[in-house]
Amino acid sequence: MEKNQSTALIFELSRSGRRCARLPVSDVPDAVVTIPQRFMADAPPALPELGELDVVRHFVNLSTKNMSIDTNFYPLGSCTMKYNPKRHERLAALAGLADVHPLQDDETCQGILGLLYEMQSYLAEIAGLHGVSLQPAAGAQGELTALLVASAYFKDKGQKRTRVLIPDSAHGTNPASAAIAGFDAVQIKSQGGYVDLEDLKAKLDDRTAVFMITNPNTLGLFEKQIATITKLVHEAGGLVYLDGANMNAILGITRPGDFGADMMHYNVHKTFTGPHGAGGPGSGPIAVRDMLIPYLPSPLVVRQGDRYTLDEDRPQSIGRVRSFFGNVGILIRGYCYIRTLGPSGLREVSDQAVLNANYLLSRLKDQFEVPQGDRCMHEFVASCRTLRREKNISAMEIAKRLLDFGYHAPTVYFPLVVPEALMIEPTETENKETLDAFADTLIKIKGEDAAFLKEAPHTLSRSRPDEVKAAKEPILRWKPA
């Protein structure tokens, strides 16, 4: 059933004179001296005009054209699409949390400050590190923040270190953040799924500020040489940064600080289940070793007796990386998650995430090539290289066809080091029935006709978009005919 209303744009539904929101009649006199004419618009912006029912029907109908965790299995590697508990939504919406203004005096928001203080300490403990800034808005901003912290630290020590070393399997935000922090991004090769130690040694010198590593890495493997790597980097005088996107595999099992990382970011929207909102919001707190604490962005929440305050008086701080405190709404959800799971529950998350991923791997490893072997942590990367060569079926085709069966596609073509990559992360919240049905479907798709797959998906409201056309002649907004 394809409804017309659900694909017309709100602008096309607009009829002059229709209204949704109604404002109260003004209870004050009109301002006498208002604003000089040069500042005033002749007319308000030409926004669409719709009645309330049409607004609701339009956006509700549109929503049905999405897949989401609440409606579909979503094994999107590197993204940790676990269930988002409903109780978090209700609690985060309490007026005493949602309606607090960010510039209220500390005295008037002791509840929130206490929560944030606790959150700082939980994240430090889980990291095995000493200081936490909750300010970064997402993982990428956490990376940038930590690199700026590192840069300030070296500047203070009188060292001129200009390079950040990054494995070729890293996420694109790593080199992009390094560039904004003013460093040269230098790529380190991978060897059999792990950091190529020889390449690392060759590039490590007194120009190295930071080595950024994702561990477990983007292939879903725990970097078994991690102790050697961190030792090498530290001997060269550099710092080790952990991209914490994959923390879901190691909560309470091993801690970045214990394996030699000096700084890291969390993706609260992944590991601690902030709803992704079709793109965001996220929250990307960073944790650092004690010598780096003075450089963290301001403010931090500190405790004095039984009072909590925002400490802005931190002369060595790099400054702010955004306005106000941080993405508090997401931090509150993460806090609720940690409080409801506790130490054993968090440990269970990683146990079960790793069990689910390995089970799925065991179901698929004889059907799909998995270059990095038959064990993984919380995710694994299959390759459609041979499938592509022999049957002309690419990772993209498999991904698109999965949509027909009601599964969101895995992450495709990432990490870049695996050709035709299908990166699969089931998370701990899925059950065996779902994993089995998914594995059966993947195996079935693999046997389908290549020409048929090229045109997949076949059953959704839209088939494949013409991306070349979209990029060549960009249409980025609706225009009146």
Binding site: T7, C20, A21, D27, V28, A31, I35, F39, A41, P44, P45, E49, L50, V55, N66, T71, N84, L91, L94, A95, D99, Q104, T108, Q110, G111, A137, G139, L148, G172, T173, A176, A178, I180, I253, G277, A278, G279, G280, S283, I318, V321, F324, V328, G329, I330, T340, L341, G345, L355, L361, H408, N431, K432, P457, L460, R462, P465, L476, R477, W478
Partner: protein, 456 residues
């Protein structure tokens, strides 16, 4: 609590399929000396009932815009959020989806973001908008980085001191190790005097950044500054207030080249500072330098109108260290809220909201000036926020008002030397005449008692 579903029997069957006899065996790749050999030192698990009690208790320790009358602003505003915004945006299909990488399975969000981009263009009079940035401060910063890319000038960036202090601080943090250097123009009269800008503007300047209305609530001479900028080939970046555009001239109409904003006021609660919404819109010519995700319209295999993320070669996952920005996760849900909010308001609703803010703010000034000896600090036109000079210590004044149930204003001392005796007050469409009268009375009694408060 636990969200794990597999039963003990299922787990045993799964382990058998993997070929190990316990979960622990799966962690063998982690060297044992790196393992944590104890439980994490965090509090024990709570049930939902306990958590609800705990969170309710925490929440009760915060004053807020629901239990107090809120006159606070400074970049975060207590605007009304129509019920349709929450009803729509709490649909699971929107808020539990990931980034719409698989276009066919994400047409709902993609179309909504395309509509969002269009609405932001309609609002600002600009030609292109992206699908959101983190918040107001990083939006200013991204605009400045973009201006350097567009103009090829990596010298000077001119920023008025009347721009939000957090935005300026964010910009300086980001620029710490990059070429462009910030020149701040003082704003002793509550706005950036175009003559002062002209003095520092040169042909190495990539852009001038203004906020309009600015942090003090005052309007800037945006049109004149735009002309100055264009005369030397620099861009004008303006941080605007979305609600103000119900009555004020659009950035695109007064010559702004990149328009950015904190979009919190469009459907997002105060949330103690986030998640908020960074808006960025610009001229068509700069589209390939824009930061962040952008949704485009195209067709599918059958020629049907379809939406997809586009121009992705700008982004970090393809261009890595040469990307226009490092942003990946953005503020999608907040953008959706803004889209629904703007649609719910429509042109009349937006204009009426802006008029209510304007009139109530001006009424508030009149009442306060009538009932107290306090006066507006700056003689400039303003919209919904204004700066007052107090004859008694600001801190005790605000504390007094707080005890009367008013979050009365923001003391400016922490940000501005010379404004130690000033505070800013914001009046949104939510405030009633009786609340404003109450505030004026509270300030009046504070001023009367002021001497005593200081002596005590």
């Amino acid at each position: 609590m636990s969200y794990v579903q597999n039963t003990a029997e299922q787990q045993a069957a799964m382990l058998a399929s993997i070929g190990v006899d316990c979960i622990e065996a799966l962690f063998a790749p982690i060297p044992s000396e790196l393992r944590l050999k104890r439980l994490l030192d965090i509090p024990a698990a709570m049930s939902e009932i306990e958590l609800t009690r705990h969170m309710t208790a925490l929440a009760s320790r915060n004053r807020n815009a629901s239990d107090s009358v809120c006159f606070l602003g400074g970049g975060a505003y207590d605007h009304f959020i129509p019920a349709v915004v929450d009803a729509i945006c709490s649909r699971s299909e929107y808020y539990t989806a990931y980034t719409p990488y698989q276009a066919e399975a994400s047409q709902g969000s993609l179309q909504a973001f395309f509509e969002f981009q269009t609405l932001i263009c309609q609002l600002t009079g600009m030609e292109v908008a992206n699908a959101s940035l983190y918040e107001g401060g990083t939006s200013v910063t991204e605009a400045v980085l973009m201006a350097a890319g567009v103009t090829g000038r990596h010298g000077r960036v001119i920023v008025a001191e009347s721009v939000h202090p957090d935005y300026r601080s964010t910009l300086k943090t980001y620029l710490a190790n990059l070429e462009p250097k910030v020149t701040e123009v003082p704003t002793p009269e509550g706005f950036a005097n175009p003559d002062d800008i002209r003095k520092v503007l040169d042909d190495q300047t990539s852009c001038v950044v203004l906020q309009h209305p600015n942090f003090f609530g005052c309007l800037e001479e945006v049109e004149e500054v735009a002309k100055l900028c264009h005369a030397v080939g620099a861009l004008l970046v303006v941080s605007f207030d979305p609600i103000s555009l119900g009555i004020l001239k659009k950035p695109g109409d007064y010559g702004a080249d990149i328009a950015v904003a904190e979009g919190q006021g469009l459907g997002n609660p105060l949330n103690y500072g986030g998640p908020y919404l960074g808006l960025l819109a610009c001229r068509e010519a700069y589209v390939r330098k824009i930061p962040g995700r952008v949704v485009g319209q195209t067709t599918d295999r059958l020629g049907r109108r379809t939406y997809a993320l586009t121009l992705q070669t700008r982004e970090q996952h393809i261009r890595r260290e040469k990307a226009t920005s490092n942003i990946c996760t953005n503020q999608g849900l907040m953008a959706l809220k803004a889209a629904v909010h703007l649609t719910a308001l429509g042109p009349s609703g937006l204009r009426e909201t802006a008029h209510l803010c304007l009139n109530k703010a001006h009424y508030a000034v009149a009442q306060i000036e009538t009932m107290t000896d306090m006066r507006r600090r700056f003689n400039r036109p303003f919209f919904k926020e204004f700066t007052l000079q107090s004859s008694v210590p600001v801190h005790s004044l605000l504390e007094h008002a707080r005890d009367d149930g008013y979050l009365a204003g923001l003391a400016l001392a922490r940000w501005y030397e010379g404004l130690e005796d000033c505070f800013s007050v914001t009046v949104t469409e939510k405030r009633t005449r009786s609340e404003i009268d109450g505030l004026a009375r509270s300030l009046q009694s504070a001023v009367r008692h002021g001497v005593r408060a200081v002596m005590a």
